[in-house]
């Protein structure tokens, strides 16, 4: 099986197209409309090559590589003069209307159109006609619009509408006046709008937050990072200039985020430079004094004093701090005095999930595997809010029905438009069970609504329908039973069914989800599970076996006041305010964090921690994958990683040298103590790693102004700071070749300056990165493990209570996550917080959409405006989760709702 490209022989790959094959072989073939995740549509005509019938065919004919299968015996020439001339001509056509405003265009220097123009050799404009001009639209805080630059490749709508399911961006008008935009100015509503910035090959859609502090790609210093805004562990690339993160780009990971991030992940970075960012140690000289900045020595001395005072020290860890920081805290205070900084129910649920990940024979899915599932059941999570990138993957999973239709017609999967037509309206099953309506409902084959107990009952019924030996659910109503039966049928007729559940749903639901997966597994289906966890290191924290937070709070009550070290945590987000107030009133508290919050305000001592752009560490994603994030730039002033502060504190307490000086040392110590964590050492090459004897530069080769950028403070160019924590250098000198995947600091190779260069870093187009994608899977399912169903009665059915409402947590993508909400652009998208009620209940309360209401529950009173959602079960109400302005409640909880005067 061979094909021939410019007379050289290569293996044929009938399921690929010629463009994919050429790019995978490292050949430079220009393209626009094709995208590895979006497939081919043959619109731009940029990828033309000459195809020959056989060896004797001298003339050949032009074909579009992206629309031609790489079949056995195919003969093409990329180098053919006619093909080259045609490709140059395509650029010249595109340029007839392109404004050539590269010097003022945000895309300049990382523009696919620039790259392709240079690649084809087109230089001089021959067209004398006037260029067309368009009006730009305001598209919200994330994406900037500059339509004149458009080359009409249709990628934006193909991503936004066809791939991500957005419906407020469309191609309008026709001929050379095609316009991509909304019906009117306004914020792009998709949770994935930011990907337009990378999908668009020119400067039509650019990062509106980067624009606020614009820097050229070649002037950004970069760090390979991880998204801290949910537990999926999407890989990101943070670009920095002048000590500030300036943007986040997708960092390709074959098994996780692929080519796309959610907007929370892309734009949440603003928290690191928000006014809430802590930049210096803070001390409270007396209990009634206010916090004031202190020098590091002073702060450490105060810390030493604090540690010696009181009835010993306890540590409260954090699901948003690195493994290393949590481990360092645990080492400092001792395992018995190390507590989980998470809410009671969340802690229990996470621990249960961790147990299940270890015990079940059913493996956990990567995001790619989730995308490849051909039927999915989502229980109790609005994934678009709690694990947004998973929502995008689930939307892709529904394409399998269309792909099957395409298979029946022998259509290749890359033929995107043909697959779409062949599978018109056909969707693989996606069953969503949530308390309120979600923005993924349009992709669902069925939705089930109710409070989490009801969803747990539904889930248990699905398990029972799949396998009679799974526990039965008493008193299920007929409609629900039928739905459960239909869900069971859909899942069991799939090849690769997926079950999604998470900490939000509670333990009964988690058990029922596990039973569904088990039942499918027993039926021989290649079943997988996704466990949705709330924060970026929820699982990492759980792996360190902390004690529940309630015990820490109780400890303060019982024995005299301890000294508490609170690591990267706002306790007010974890337990009722009164409990935290009481605890903080008694305990002496030192907080180590990057962000100022209510707990900080009650502390005696605050040590400024590095955040994700200026810190380094390891996180364990909800998939159980340990991954490393490495700082993009040196932390300013006294800011340093939590684990480093804690190492120093430990040394102070014992009067000896710190246990570790570098990240590698603390990582190794952690790995040594926990067998499960042994693999974390390999999540990225150590600081000692050298490529060709050199470190990997963080700054691109064209990094400019380094002799002048500090000239306002210092006229000499200081030597680049050392980085003891990684094999990356804060300079442009270093290894000139490709770095190992975990150390990639940019995508750029000669001729390819845009993000499209990623294909040069992959083993094949859309495949794994060269040398393997980064990260280490810590937990593997044991397929031989016993597959007995988990016991436990299904919860009681939900019963309305007159005059009361069961308050349910309602997760919102731009509102519920602590850190991203501090980013100005995200805050702008957060929208007003609303209390959702069934329209019937609204009527009963005499309320209309937007009216103010008062909610009382758990001894707290809240004021919110109401909004109808017909999906909510009557008698329940959904409260925005995680909103700092609302007090913490242990939800679900019963409460009352009253009308109040606006």
């Amino acid at each position: 099986m061979s094909l021939y490209i410019d007379r050289a022989e290569y293996p044929a790959q009938p399921d690929k197209n010629l463009l994919e094959v050429c790019l995978s072989l490292g050949l430079d073939l220009p393209y626009f409309c094709w995208h590895p995740a979006l497939g081919s549509v043959g619109a731009c005509r940029q990828c033309a090559v000459k195809q020959f019938k056989d060896e004797n065919d001298q003339r050949g004919r032009l074909v579009m590589a992206c629309m031609t299968p790489a079949a056995e015996g195919t003969r093409i020439s990329v180098d053919d003069p006619e093909a080259r001339a045609f490709r140059a001509q395509v650029i010249e056509w595109l340029m007839t209307n392109h404004p050539h405003d590269c010097p003022v265009c945000d895309e300049g220097g990382e523009c696919h159109l620039q790259d392709m123009t240079v690649m084809t050799g087109h230089t001089y404009r021959r067209c004398r006609a006037a260029k067309r001009t368009f009006r730009n639209q305001y598209l919200g805080p994330f994406v900037n619009h500059e339509m004149n630059r458009c080359i009409t490749c249709y990628r934006c709508v193909r991503f936004y509408r066809d791939y991500a399911g957005g419906d407020d961006l469309e191609a309008q008008a026709s001929r050379n006046r095609v316009y991509f935009g909304r019906a009117a100015d306004g914020t792009l509503e998709s949770e994935f709008s930011g990907n337009l910035v990378e999908v668009c090959p020119t400067g039509v859609f650019t990062d509106a937050t980067l624009k606020q502090h614009y820097t050229r790609k070649w002037d950004l210093q970069n760090g390979p990072s991880l998204c801290p805004h949910c537990a999926l562990g999407c890989n990101t690339l943070i670009g920095e200039r002048y000590g500030e993160p300036r943007r986040v780009l997708n960092r390709y990971h074959h098994d996780i985020n692929g080519y796309f991030l959610c907007d929370r992940g892309r734009y949440g970075y603003g928290f690191m430079t928000a006014p809430s960012r802590l930049s210096a140690p803070l001390l409270r000289p007396a209990a009634d004094a206010s916090l004031h900045p202190a020098a590091a020595d002073e702060a450490l001395a105060a810390a030493a004093a604090l540690l010696r005072e009181g009835a010993g020290i306890i540590g409260i860890g954090s699901p948003r701090a690195s493994l290393e920081a949590n481990f360092a805290l645990r080492r400092l205070v001792g395992p018995e005095r190390f507590f989980a900084g998470v809410g009671e129910a969340e802690g229990r649920a996470t621990a249960l999930i961790l147990d299940l990940m270890r015990q079940l024979p059913v493996p956990v899915a990567t995001l790619r595997q989730a995308e490849d599932s051909d039927a999915a059941l989502v229980l109790g999570e609005d994934v678009l809010a709690t694990a947004p990138r998973l929502g995008l993957a689930l939307r892709q999973s529904t394409r399998h029905a269309a792909l099957a239709a395409a298979d029946r017609l022998n259509l290749p999967h890359w033929d995107a438009a043909a697959v779409q037509v062949a599978g018109r309206d056909q969707r693989s099953p996606l069953i969503l069970a949530t308390c309120a309506s979600t923005r993924l409902d349009d992709a669902a084959s069925a939705t089930v609504h109710g409070p989490s107990d009801e969803i747990a009952r539904f889930a248990a019924a699905v398990a029972h329908a799949l396998d009679g030996s799974a526990p039965e659910v008493a008193g299920l109503d007929e409609a629900r039973r039928q739905l459960a039966q239909a869900a069971a049928a859909a899942l069991s007729s799939a090849q690769r069914p997926l079950v999604v559940a998470g900490a939000r749903g509670g333990e009964a639901l988690i058990r029922a989800a596990a039973n569904i997966a088990l039942a499918l597994h027993r039926r021989g289906r290649a079943t997988r599970l996704v466990w949705v966890l709330p924060e970026c290191n929820s699982l990492g924290l759980a792996l360190l076996a902390p004690r529940p937070l309630a015990e820490a709070l109780a400890a303060a009550e019982a024995a005299g006041a301890p000294t508490a070290i609170v690591l990267e945590n706002d306790l007010y987000r974890r337990a009722p305010h009164r409990a935290i107030d009481a605890f903080l009133a008694k305990a002496r508290v030192a907080v180590i964090d990057h962000t100022r919050h209510a707990t900080v305000e009650a502390a005696q001592l605050v040590l400024p921690a590095a955040a994700f752009a200026d810190g380094s560490g390891t996180l364990v994603s909800s998939e159980g994958r340990a991954q490393r994030y490495l700082r993009a730039y040196p932390a300013a002033g006294d800011i340093t990683d939590g684990w480093r502060w804690l190492g120093r504190l430990g040394a102070l307490a014992d009067g000896r040298a710190p246990d570790w000086q570098s990240l590698d040392e603390v990582t190794r110590a952690c790995a040594a103590e926990f067998p499960t964590l042994a693999g974390i050492v390999d999540a990225a090459p150590s600081a000692a790693f050298r490529a060709g004897g050199r470190k990997i530069p963080r700054q691109p080769p064209r990094y400019s102004g380094r002799t002048a950028m500090r000239a306002d403070r210092q006229i000499h160019e200081p030597p680049p700071p050392a980085d003891p924590d990684s094999a990356l250098a804060f300079s442009m000198e270093g290894h000139p070749g490709q770095a190992p995947a975990a150390l990639l600091t940019w995508y750029r190779v000669p001729g390819w300056n845009s993000v499209q260069a990623v294909n040069k870093f992959q083993q094949e187009v859309g495949g794994e990165l060269r040398g393997g994608d980064p990260g280490v899977r810590l937990l593997q399912a044991d397929s031989a493990a016993a597959a007995g169903f988990l016991a436990g009665d299904a919860p009681e059915p939900f019963a309305r209570r007159p005059g009361e409402w069961l308050l349910l947590p309602h997760d919102l993508i731009f509102c519920s996550e602590e850190l991203s909400l501090l980013a100005p652009a995200v805050a702008q998208r957060a929208g007003p917080a609303r209390l959702l009620l069934h329209p019937g209940d609204l009527q009963e309360l005499g309320l209309a959409d937007g009216d103010p209401a008062q909610v009382e529950a758990g001894g707290e009173t809240m004021h919110l405006r109401v909004q109808p959602d017909p999906a909510l079960a009557p008698g329940t109400a959904a409260l925005p989760a995680g909103l700092p302005r609302l007090p913490w409640l242990d939800l679900p909880a019963w409460g009352s709702i009253r009308r109040v005067r606006g």
Partner: protein, 154 residues
């Protein structure tokens, strides 16, 4: 808001098509038949009624020649500007319409009586130059015959 007549007309078309998406163009045509053109609020109303994204309908409405997204006059003159009519004197007819008769290409007369647009070949090349006034096909046109023809439309 769609009027009851518009909704009735849309639902009359519905059984002929497989889904609401296909009905979109029909609905826009119906709205235009009732209102002369497709104002923003009507487009939004069709979108809401059919459960289609507004952007989708906008993409369609701006693609097709016969859908108007701007107000038009009481009578619409579609002057064929394709080759057979051009060969037989379309340009002089066009000049006369825009000259003596005070119409503007792509515009509406101040009294709201006529909107003049060009249209590709009307399939009446044996009668060129031709134009379609509302639903009436007239041709072969001569500059002198325009006055009486226009006079028929108030």
């Amino acid at each position: 808001m769609l009027s009851p007549e518009e909704i009735r007309a849309i639902e009359e078309e519905a059984p002929r098509y497989r889904d609401r998406q296909a009905l979109g163009i029909e609905a826009l045509k119906i709205v235009q038949r009732h209102r002369g053109w497709i104002p923003d609020e009507a487009l939004a109303a069709v979108a809401d009624y059919l459960g289609l994204p507004r952007e989708h309908l906008e993409g369609v409405a701006t693609f097709y020649n016969l859908l108007f997204r701007k107000p038009v006059g009481r009578h619409i003159i579609r002057l064929c500007d394709s080759v057979s009519c051009w060969l037989t004197g379309q340009e002089t007819v066009c000049r006369a319409l825009c000259g003596e008769h005070g119409l503007t290409m792509g515009g509406t007369t101040a009294d709201g009586r006529f909107t003049l647009v060009t249209v590709p070949c009307l399939g009446a090349c044996d009668r060129g130059p031709v134009m379609l006034v509302d639903e009436d096909l007239v041709g072969p046109l001569q500059p002198e015959s325009l006055g009486p023809i226009l006079g028929r439309y108030e």
